[in-house]
């Protein structure tokens, strides 16, 4: 799960989304095709080319007030069309920790 924090070259190998954390509370969010943010991955704009990725990332980073640390993350598109995280790191960001919390939510 190489950290995407040092993502410099924008090159995508498959369907991807732009994700970040919401500035005021840190919640995981995804860039939507409506130029906004959603905490629901199914709302995310899916990008498939490096040009699309570059454009969506630039738009996301420009929203410095709403989001922090935007980067491109891989996703899988299931046959049903459902968007799934493309690696364990993103799975954990979406679903939460893989352990039982000391105090159940």
């Amino acid at each position: 799960m190489t950290s995407p924090l040092e993502q410099k070259k924008i090159r995508i190998a498959g369907p991807s989304v732009v994700t970040a954390n919401r500035t005021w509370d840190g919640v995981v969010i995804y860039r939507t095709s409506q130029h906004g943010w959603s905490s629901d991955l199914s709302d995310a704009a899916v990008i498939r080319t490096s040009d699309e990725a570059r454009a969506l990332l630039a738009e996301s980073v420009a929203d410095d007030v709403g989001a922090i640390g935007a980067y491109i993350a891989p996703v899988e598109i299931k046959d049903s069309g459902k968007i799934k995280p493309g690696n364990l790191r993103e799975h954990i960001r979406l679903q939460g920790v893989t352990i039982e919390l000391p105090v159940p939510a």
Binding site: M1, G26, V28, I99, L101
Partner: protein, 553 residues
């Protein structure tokens, strides 16, 4: 306990006001994230996977019951009802909202707690022996010197804009519980042949990507000269330390590249110049005494070493199992130091719920003069417990799941938060620790194995100190999968060593089996039952263990 004066309180409160304004400006867009990042880091605020993480300093690991209750309040009010005690005597809250952080900081400031020096390229929380002031045979209380360094370096420009973060640790005991040899500067307080109290100064220790054991730069520095000497070290570091490459910016790299002799000479030249130009601060006895006087010590009673309560409880095997591993001798007869394991079977190492923190605060008031300690092994301690109270304390701890009798045993695992929380991690740490605690949950087995420290880090930054674990486990990524490198033979005490890699990394699902193989090999190979795991590795090297692990893999 150390009592803050008006200056300390003013500084902390001003810092809260300043940060409140900074957060307000960030949320309004007046400050960009680039502008804000350093400001939030200077107040212990990181961005992790799911949320902001708030790291709070517990200088030299000492807390009052009032302060612990306030930490519980922060966990409950602003987070998700628990906190994580770290390997550097801090506590971290993992789910905090930026908008609420100024209020959390203000609530902490009310009881003299802050988040200064918990992040950024400055001097970090000065750590010390968690048994400071109560350990038998200690030369003097090292926290006095920790506090002096804390005060001197806080906001001091020479210590605030360094090439990289900078960590001090201090011990005053022959047995090093503060891991001073793996810190940027390690200080060992001792008395020289003339009976003067001073420090052996070590420099250039550290873990992370490039682990080094610290080297002695000066065998003896008198206490009055300590601050000027460490300032000379920092001046040389500021002058020559690399700022162009984050991976080569720590002082350990500079010491390694210059060589300890050359580095020591540079520091000596700088120090002598400071002395010649009257810019070297010399502490007079009154200054030291002023700090010393603000540490309060309990009014101990004269109590028997073996009270009736203890004799009676000795018949209870469960109590005895706990006592043997959790209770340590105290400098005052009739008292004991009690370690509270934050490593329950199947639990995340170092986590404590708000309810547990409140309960420990109550127990500290009842049995430990209202004082609690936090150790780098991610456990708590009650430093002043009358031995007659041990049975009652044990029962009370058992009710809140803090009497696991595994201190210093194989399930007393040190682990970083790993990929479950951390944005830098490559692999998970906590589930590995949980599986190992289940695998070795049988107390008789753990006792048979004896003292064995497992340390787990989820990435090469080594927050779980895996390099110095008797068994170290490092999470790495291979083609998108979690793998783990295993080292053995590391240790963080006065004989500190970096562990040796035993072979190729193993997948997530095999880690517990591999550790079990290593332990079985050790039990078969040890010369006698009391030969510790690290001593067996030292005697035989890693080859027999490597053979055992990889023969069938």
């Amino acid at each position: 306990m150390y009592a803050y004066d008006e200056l300390d309180r003013t500084l902390i409160n001003e810092r809260v006001s300043e940060f409140r304004d900074q957060v307000k400006r960030r949320l309004s867009g007046e400050l960009t994230e680039d502008e804000f990042k350093m400001l939030r880091l200077q107040n212990g605020v990181y961005l992790q996977l799911h949320a902001y993480m708030f790291r709070v300093a517990i200088p030299y690991g000492t807390l009052s019951s009032k302060q612990l209750r306030r930490l519980a309040h922060v966990a409950r009010r602003y987070d998700r009802g628990y906190g994580h005690f770290t390997t550097r005597q801090n506590i971290q809250f993992n789910w905090i909202k930026l908008a609420e952080l100024p209020d959390a900081l203000a609530d902490l400031a009310d009881v003299g707690i802050h988040a200064m020096q918990t992040s950024g390229n400055n001097t970090r929380n000065v750590t010390s022996d968690q048994w400071a002031g109560v350990a038998p045979g200690e030369i003097a209380d090292p926290r006095i010197w920790s506090e002096l360094i804390r005060q001197y370096t806080t906001l001091h420009p020479e210590f605030s804009f360094l090439p990289r973060k900078f960590k001090f640790a201090i011990t005053a005991s022959a047995h090093d519980r503060a891991a001073i040899k793996v810190h940027d500067i390690g200080l060992r307080l001792y008395k020289n042949a003339e009976g003067e109290t001073g420090f052996e100064v070590l420099v250039g220790g550290g873990l992370g990507r490039t682990p080094f054991i610290g080297k002695t730069i000066k065998p003896f520095v008198h206490g009055r000269d300590l601050l000027s000497y460490v300032e000379a070290i920092l001046r040389v570091y500021n002058q020559y330390g690399r700022r162009d490459n984050i991976y080569k910016a720590r002082i350990k790299i500079l010491v390694h590249e210059l060589g300890i002799e050359k580095f020591a000479q540079e520091v000596e030249d700088e120090w002598q110049q400071m002395r010649a130009t009257d810019t070297a601060l010399t502490l007079d006895d009154a200054m030291i005494e002023d700090i010393r006087s603000r540490f309060s010590y309990p009014a101990y009673e004269k109590l028997p070493h073996m009270p009736d309560e203890l004799k009676k409880a000795a018949h209870d095997a469960h109590f005895e199992a706990w006592r043997k591993n959790s209770v340590a001798p105290h400098k005052v007869s009739g008292y004991a130091i009690v370690t509270l394991s934050l490593k329950p079977v199947g639990g995340p190492p170092g986590d404590a719920t708000a309810d547990q923190m409140d309960a420990v605060a109550d127990l500290a008031d009842k049995y430990s003069f209202g004082e609690i300690r936090v150790g780098h092994e991610q456990n708590l301690a009650l430093p002043h417990v009358a031995r007659r109270d041990l049975p009652a304390l044990w029962k009370a701890l058992d009710k809140i799941d803090l009497a696991t009798p595994n201190v210093n045993l194989i399930t007393d695992i040190i682990a970083c938060p790993g990929l479950d929380y951390c944005s830098l991690a490559n692999a998970r740490s906590i589930p590995i620790a949980q599986e190992l605690t289940r695998r070795f949950a049988n107390h008789d087995t753990a006792n048979l194995i004896g003292r064995l420290h497992i340390n787990i880090s989820g990435c090469i930054n080594a927050c779980g100190h895996h390099h110095v674990g008797h068994i170290g486990i490092l999470g790495v990524e291979k083609n998108g999968e979690e793998f783990y490198q295993i080292t053995i033979g590391g240790r963080a005490d006065e004989n500190a060593e970096v562990g040796t890699l035993i072979g190729p990394a193993v997948p997530y699902g095999e880690v517990a089996d591999v550790i079990e193989d290593i332990v079985e090999a050790y039990l078969a190979l040890r010369a006698q039952p009391d030969e510790l795991f690290v001593d067996t590795v030292k005697r035989l090297g890693v080859e027999p263990f490597r053979e055992r692990v990889y023969a069938t893999r």
